[in-house]
């Protein structure tokens, strides 16, 4: 069984800063971490491997610094590590990113199960997983809370909806975008850590994928970020009152609003 896990390196959330001049995220000197729900996807993949056998293949796309998340993936139980990086891919939006990742999957020989986090904490679009599934022509399930591989090879899952939890199953190959923290992070053993040191990271560039600059990067992106800004609230006032005084204020304000 080939389980491909897509992981992204993101700024640690409390470190996000916006460049006022360019309206883009500042990345210099910012601590970068594995996207939390991708970390859960990885733990879920390793758990599936431990229970049913197979191989966990970790793929990341980004700058050279993103190898750090691949090293973390090796510690957490990934068997193969792939770094997708090419100057042509810089500035890719979710569509172009999904295209690159789908070609990577084809280059690597396909998959049985694809796992990713439901969204990244920097962009928060949640789009790459579903777009990737379209490019790969496989079903996609988002907001996954639970995954089980059945003896007949089908995957039973629980999916978080607005007002209920859906319990269903489907055949593989399929993509699952998992919610944060549904599986406890994998704790490696000494032998896991020794093994992780020996796993080489394989670089994949456009030489391998042969997509070209028109379909990737800024040119291949269907969306453009026009402006990034921090929502600021107008000045607020805070007064501490007791319940009686508070009730009077609420009634007065409500009456004012109605009139």
């Amino acid at each position: 069984m080939r389980i491909v896990v897509f992981i992204k390196q993101v700024p640690e959330s409390e470190d996000v800063k916006i460049d006022r001049l360019t309206n883009t995220m500042k990345r210099e000197g910012i601590r970068m971490v594995m996207n939390p729900s991708d970390s859960t996807a990885l733990a879920a993949a390793v758990q599936l491997k431990k229970e049913h056998g197979g191989k966990v293949i970790a793929v990341t796309m980004g700058t050279k610094k993103a190898v750090e998340v691949l090293n973390q993936a090796a510690i957490c139980g990934a068997d193969e590590l792939y770094m997708v990086s090419d100057p042509l891919y810089a500035g890719s939006d979710t569509y172009a990113t999904a295209l690159v990742l789908s070609e990577t999957v084809k280059y690597l020989g396909g998959l049985d199960i694809a796992l990713c986090g439901r969204r990244a904490i920097d962009g928060e679009t949640g789009q790459v997983g579903p777009e990737l599934s379209v490019f790969l022509d496989i079903p996609c399930v988002t907001n996954v809370l639970e995954l089980q591989l059945k003896s007949d090879g089908r995957v039973r899952y629980k999916r978080l909806l607005e007002d209920e939890i859906l319990d269903a199953e489907l055949s593989t190959p399929a993509l699952f975008a998992v919610c944060e923290g549904i599986v406890r992070d994998y704790v490696p053993s000494i032998s896991d850590l020794r093994r992780a040191r020996d796993i080489k990271i394989i670089n994949i560039t456009d030489n391998e994928l042969k997509l070209g600059g028109e379909r990737t990067g800024l040119a291949g992106s269907l969306t453009t970020v026009r402006r990034t800004f921090q929502q600021t609230s107008p000045d607020r006032k805070c007064v501490f009152v007791d319940a009686k005084e508070g009730a009077k204020i609420i009634i007065a304000k409500a009456t004012e609003a109605i009139l």
Binding site: Q72, R184, V187, L193
Partner: protein, 370 residues
């Protein structure tokens, strides 16, 4: 390879140095490597390509993991996080110093620091409580240090429990709680597996409370077990808190003991990690003993050096313990009371001439006529 969390703490520690005045090891050796900042610097150097060799590894074990640095840090960083991971890294890279390798092997193969067989541990528990009940309301978890190095403390505690008519038992055999192995090899799967096995054993007793004699073990059971997914179906209570409760409830009525110029050494795991400082003082007060407080007491306590450091580096262990005795001498104390089997063994190895050293439970057992 260090975790993101370890790297974050190490990168922030490496240029700071503010906690150097609080490290019990650095205060005694005067070595620059014996403080948290130096260890953070070494971790960050390894991340930047420096080789992690035996000397780096040795530095990482010259630390009590007492948490005084974390307590002191005004920005919330915790050096024990990256120091433990550095110890794991030392094992992964096979660069453990020989003296540490020996105790790591003891822990991995025999389940304790001292290389004592499980049959011998069983025998010690049987001797402590012959014909132990299979089930009881309270399980007394003794811990390997008390069993092997300070059995008199466990005997005193058992006497007190019997005196108070507590329905209690002990395990047939105690293995790894995760405390010692976690400090030596880090929080890896082997540590967690050992802890899970121990939790499962504890749960077979069906006790409502688990009274833990060793504060280091109590800390791991209270704080790490929930994180590790080791579920103990009972309330974990420190022995000091439990015994203080028995005195408060009138189930133990100690006689007054005439002791002067007494000081109390707070076990670091008890006072700092578990926020427990007053039960031991209450027990001493119940015996009519007034305490002179040392410099660095309660949550600021200065670590004795720990059983682990004593096991792999006896000379360093004695030097650190000596530092704490110095604190006692400076306030004019004539005797020191400790409330942890590890502190009892470590401090007991270098009692200055003219001073006396007591364990809290042994004192109380005498005061209760055991």
């Amino acid at each position: 390879m260090f975790s993101e969390k370890a790297n974050k703490h190490a990168d922030n520690c490496r240029f700071c140095w503010m906690c150097r005045y609080i490290c019990p090891v650095g205060l005694q050796t005067g070595k620059e490597t014996n403080n948290a900042r130096a260890k953070g610097l070494l971790v960050s150097l390894v991340n930047r390509g420096q080789e992690f060799d035996e000397s780096y590894a040795g530095t990482m074990y010259e630390c009590c993991l007492c948490g005084a640095c974390s307590q002191d840090c005004k920005t919330g960083f915790e050096p024990p996080i990256f120091i433990r991971e550095a110890r794991t890294e030392a094992i992964v890279r096979d660069v453990l110093p020989e003296n540490v390798r020996m105790i790591a092997d003891n822990l991995m193969e025999k389940g304790n620091l001292y290389g004592v067989s499980s049959a011998e541990i069983q025998s010690k528990l049987e001797k402590l409580l012959p014909n132990r009940p299979q089930k009881a309301g309270v399980l007394l978890y003794v811990g390997q240090t008390a069993l092997i190095k300070a059995p008199e403390i466990s005997e005193a505690l058992i006497c007190l429990l019997k005196k108070a008519s507590v329905d209690f038992t002990v395990l047939y055999s105690e293995g790894q709680s995760g405390a010692e192995i976690g400090d030596v090899i880090g929080y890896v799967a082997e540590t967690i597996t050992a802890a899970k096995n121990e939790a499962a054993k504890i749960n077979t007793i069906g006790a409502e409370k688990v009274v833990v004699l060793d504060p280091n073990v109590a800390r791991v059971m209270k704080q790490e077990y929930p994180v590790w997914g080791c579920d103990i179906n009972a309330e974990i209570v420190t022995a000091t808190a439990f015994i203080a409760g028995l005195i408060a409830d009138g189930k133990l009525s100690p006689q007054k003991i005439d002791m002067k110029e007494v000081t109390f050494h707070d076990p670091c795991k008890l006072s700092r990690d578990l926020d427990e400082t007053e039960p031991a003082r209450y027990i001493l007060k119940s015996m009519g003993i007034e305490i002179k407080e040392m410099f660095l007491n309660r949550e600021w306590t200065k670590c004795c050096g720990t059983e682990i450091v004593k096991a792999h580096s006896p000379a360093l262990g004695a030097l650190i313990a000596d530092g704490r005795w110095g604190d006692a001498e400076r306030i004019g104390a004539a005797c020191m009371v400790t409330a942890c089997p590890g502190c009892f063994d470590v401090m007991g190895q270098c009692v200055p001439e003219g001073m006396k050293h007591y364990d809290l439970f042994i004192l109380l057992a005498e005061a209760c006529g055991c």
